[in-house]
């Protein structure tokens, strides 16, 4: 064999495989790693829009640790994520179980459930903005017409109401993801398992607890992780509804970072804020993949 050497090199385990993935690796590196590294770098500088900054070490981070708004934002982000994901999970699962039953017009119902997801968030959020408007809210109008209340509810004007409102909209938008994903999971569960359980004497609750839930668990954990990631790193919905207000009560990392970096011009500080999103999401993914590995 004349060309023995070059063939040997290409055939060495993994070499050819690696070469084939190089283009994809390069694209990933360019599109994901570059902005990531740039962001981290910026967070160590005092860059302002229009002016190249200089390295300031941990100054941005130290400043944030002394900022009340930052801690409020961290608190808001956790409340927003936990509250929204919890209810999305419960309601999404419940809806999936309902839609998994056999009834007339279930095809139509399944299509309707998808609606919040199909409508662009910007559009649907504006609709909610109107629903929650302090003067023209249709909910307030209805309650006032019914004589239950005398003044309109200040949905987005008070801290607690505003938080609840944005969480509700997030739940509304996120339910289809849970429902459709879990519905697909439910349909893979062999129907005769429930019949076997019927004969074994299981009540509906025991069937849910002992068959549905354990068999759905791997999928449920993946879906929940995704939802946590998206909710934690949300931006669009809150920016349209409240811009983080009132009084920073609905600021989450995404919106606060954007406000400091783009609206306020402090790129370095903004980058430092968004850097807090990474470790949390990383831990999240780690836990899920550990769990899935154990399940297998």
């Amino acid at each position: 064999m004349k060309s023995g050497q070059s063939v040997g090199f290409l055939q060495r385990k993994g070499v050819l495989g690696f070469l084939f993935t190089v283009p994809a690796d390069a694209i990933l590196l360019l599109l994901l790693a570059y902005p990531f590294v740039l962001g981290i770098w910026l967070s160590f500088t005092n860059t302002i829009i229009g002016r190249t900054g200089s390295f300031v070490g941990l100054e941005n981070y130290i400043d944030l640790f002394h900022s009340d708004v930052f801690w409020l934002t961290a608190f808001n982000t956790v409340v927003y994520t936990v509250g929204a994901v919890f209810f999305k999970l419960i309601l999404g699962l419940g809806l999936a179980i309902l839609l998994n039953r056999d009834f007339k017009g279930k095809g139509l119902m399944r299509a309707i459930v998808l609606l919040p997801w199909i409508v662009p968030t910007a559009l649907s959020t504006i609709a909610f903005w109107w629903i929650f408007d302090s003067n023209f809210s249709c909910i307030s109008w209805l309650f006032m017409k019914l004589g239950i209340m005398h003044a309109p509810i200040n949905f987005l004007g008070s801290t607690v109401n505003a938080r609840i409102s944005v969480i509700i909209v997030n739940i509304w938008r996120g339910i289809p993801f849970f429902t459709i994903g879990l519905l697909a999971g439910l349909q893979t569960i062999n129907h005769t398992l429930y019949e076997a359980a019927d004969i074994d004497g299981a009540t509906p609750w025991i069937k849910f607890k002992s068959i549905t839930l354990p068999l759905l668990m791997p999928l449920l954990s993946v879906i929940t992780t995704f939802s946590i990631i998206w909710t934690f790193a949300d931006f669009q919905l809150i920016w349209i509804m409240t811009r983080g207000g009132p009084d920073n009560a609905t600021h989450i990392f995404g919106t606060f970072s954007f406000q400091r970096a783009i609206a306020g011009g402090h790129l370095g500080e903004g980058a430092a804020i968004s850097a807090f999103i990474f470790p949390v999401l990383f831990i999240c993914v780690l836990i899920t993949s550990k769990y899935l590995k154990r399940e297998n």
Partner: protein, 363 residues
Amino acid sequence: MAEVLLEHVGKKFGKVVAVDDFNLTIYHDEFMVFVGPSGCGKTTTLRMIAGLEEITSGDIAIEGRRVNNVPPKDRDIAMVFQNYALYPHMTVYQNMAFGLKLKKVAQQEIDKRVRQTAEMLGILGLLKRKPKELSGGQRQRVALGRAIVRIPKVYLFDEPLSNLDAKLRVQMRLELKKLHKKMGTTSIYVTHDQIEAMTMGDRIAVMKDGRIQQVGEPLQIYMHPINRFVASFIGSPTMNFLDVHVVKKGEGYHVESKGFSLPVPEEKKRAIAPYEGKEVILGVRPEDLSEGGENRGAGTLKAHVEVVQPVGNQIYVDVKVGAHNLLAAVPPQSLVKTMEEMALNPRLDNLHYFDPKSELAIA
């Protein structure tokens, strides 16, 4: 200790009649087999007995109690599903213990029963495994075990052996039969395999299009099929059917066609008399056609051999007799050769006659 009674039971799925006017008593401790072609309503009937399917009409009673509206868990039955339906996330032990736990049986008693049953089925070493770590035969045993530990009044089996390979199936058949001998619990067993039905059933119910065609002991059905369908369904290879003419010859009758004339035995004389001069269907089982070296008299058929298929314990021979195609099963020592002539002697006492219109046996 339980008798299962089905009276005029019917089931419709919308307009599809799955089971129609099903009447049957399954005696206490009996091993009853439902057999029939695909789609004849076997599974539906079994599921109605289990309570997994509502019945459209009629009554079902277990041990004298009408159970039409009793949920499955209160019928005291155990079912083995065709696809096993083992809980995939539970170990073998948990699978077997699940029903007992729900019945609030004491932990000690559960443990004792599970181990006893597992030992009997030879799966004691598998208790900690999950279903996906088992072979088909092992899963089958676990499915059986899950039913057995319950000690129910009635066992329901829906084609439990159909997923196994031929050898394992024969072995499991035997084990099931032994098990039934030992436990003596009323069992209803569904299969589409007539050999399985014949070997396992104390009695067999042959079904077609949602209706029972014939109920009886295996040999009784084999020897005296009530109609053409049962005759063709039970027995392997399938019975030959020939259109023949009834003619009177002297004191007795013959059935004739181009190329042969067979005397009707004495005891069938009365029954066949009304068909004199008319057509009937003659049924001949392949195993009732024996090879005759020399002409043995009135009943011998002159056959032209077309195809020879040795299957080991027998040789199947496709022959042409007159205008009819017949299959004969002859001993493996036979020296028949393709394209040669051979003489076949039908066992005259074992021939079957059917009315060409109603297809009912003439007897």
